[in-house]
């Protein structure tokens, strides 16, 4: 049973890492679909928690997969999740780097690049939708989300302050 879930974890994370254009944030809707909806490895609340922790801690955004892997399969699950998410694409990048330089400034390369930009932006938008649905279970939480979005968009404040204020508001029992 446990081997089964580790295998599923490895295969699913590998597939989604190879499909999601635009980095760690682009992959999150599919991670959510697999972890919460299809696999039922965790609740909405836990997924929202994991994302909040991975953002509030220093380090790359992709580190959320370690938390999910640990939750699903312990330390081994964490290692499997990270390897599956970050290994195959890195190998792909190595092989692709050579071809990339050769086709620089060709029309088709520029076309493909321009065509992929809106897809990766759309995936980030989907991530925003999924996270907002998972996190905003109350009107107060929705208010914090709106304030955080506005602050980040209109000011250059360090997002750490936003997290501190939101954490204090949460602790005060507002959410």
């Amino acid at each position: 049973m446990k081997d089964d879930i580790l295998f599923t974890l490895a295969v699913q994370f590998m597939i989604m890492s190879l499909l999601a254009l635009g980095g760690a944030n682009a992959v999150l809707p599919e991670v959510h679909r697999q972890a919460v909806e299809v696999g039922q490895w965790m609740s909405e609340r836990q997924f929202a928690d994991f994302f909040a922790i991975s953002q509030a801690a220093p380090g790359p955004n992709v580190q959320i997969v370690v938390l999910i892997g640990y939750h699903v399969g312990g330390l081994l699950g964490a290692a499997v999740a990270m390897l599956a998410m970050c290994g195959p694409t890195a190998v792909l990048a190595l092989f692709f780097a050579r071809a990339w330089d050769r086709f620089k400034d060709t029309l088709w390369r520029n076309t493909v690049q321009a065509a992929l930009v809106p897809i990766s932006v759309g995936l980030v938008g989907a991530t925003a939708v999924v996270l907002t649905r998972a996190a905003d279970t109350t009107w107060a939480a929705a208010g914090i989300t709106a304030a955080s979005a506005a602050t980040t968009f209109f000011t250059r404040w360090n997002p750490l302050y936003v997290f501190v204020v939101a954490g204090v508001l949460g602790l005060a029992g507002l959410v």
Partner: protein
């Protein structure tokens, strides 16, 4: 998570006005395996909210391992590829400096710290995740994190909605307002909205959505180029 927007502006700046190398900078030496490991180790633990700015600072400004232009080219490649951008960048840069083992050193350096830190947090969460105090704090943090993602998305999406420069009218005749607008629209905002709807709202599987959207977007972009 804010790297993508920061990068697109950085990329366009540097491509239009590459910074000339300053004469007083010492000639860059090729980093060793240990250099690669520790450089990415440091990036991994200092980056709050995405690793891109820290990577750029270390590579271009502190160590002078890459020129701004080289960095932008390498990052553009890693954005274009699937997978976590900086992880890919670590592999590509490590390989360029020291071959496959260099790639491995950089990759391990970058992923080691988050693995250890997040595993530790995972242990703590499994134990205290249901504690009332932690529940309240995390509720606030999760709501704020969703807001950050919305802002990131809006910043990234905004350039897609800009109309392209008015095409010179070949016929020289007066065209209707609708025709003028049609000539200046790009397919990009429509593709983006389709992806948000399919993945974010309808929750369709990524595999099928990408199988349709990637070729469709390439065809549309080619047709409207």
């Amino acid at each position: 998570m804010r790297d993508s927007t920061a990068d697109s502006s950085a990329a366009s700046n540097a491509s239009s006005s590459p910074v000339p190398p300053s004469p007083q900078q010492p000639p860059p030496r090729i980093p060793t395996h240990a250099d690669l490991f520790w450089a990415f180790f440091k990036i991994a633990i200092s980056g709050f909210g995405g690793a891109l700015p820290w990577t750029r600072r270390m590579f271009v400004e502190q160590k002078a391992w890459m020129t701004p232009q080289e960095f932008n080219d390498a990052y553009a490649l890693c954005q274009f590829l699937p997978g976590p951008n900086i992880v890919n960048l670590a592999a590509v840069f490590g390989a360029r400096m020291r071959g496959a083992t260099g790639a491995l050193a950089a990759w391990l350096g970058f992923l080691g710290p988050p693995f250890v830190i997040m595993s530790t947090v995972g242990v703590l969460y499994a134990r205290y995740g249901d504690a009332e105090t932690l529940r309240k704090i995390l509720g606030g943090l999760a709501a704020a994190a969703a807001g950050l993602m919305i802002a990131t998305f809006v910043r990234m999406a905004e350039p897609l909605f800009r109309l392209r420069a008015a095409a010179t009218s070949e016929q020289g005749g007066v065209r209707s307002l609708g025709a003028q607008l049609g000539a200046r629209l790009t397919p990009q905002p429509f593709v983006m909205l389709a992806v948000v709807a399919a993945i974010g709202l309808f929750r369709w599987p990524l595999l099928w959505v990408m199988a349709v959207v990637v070729p469709a977007s390439i065809l549309l972009t080619w047709w409207r180029r």
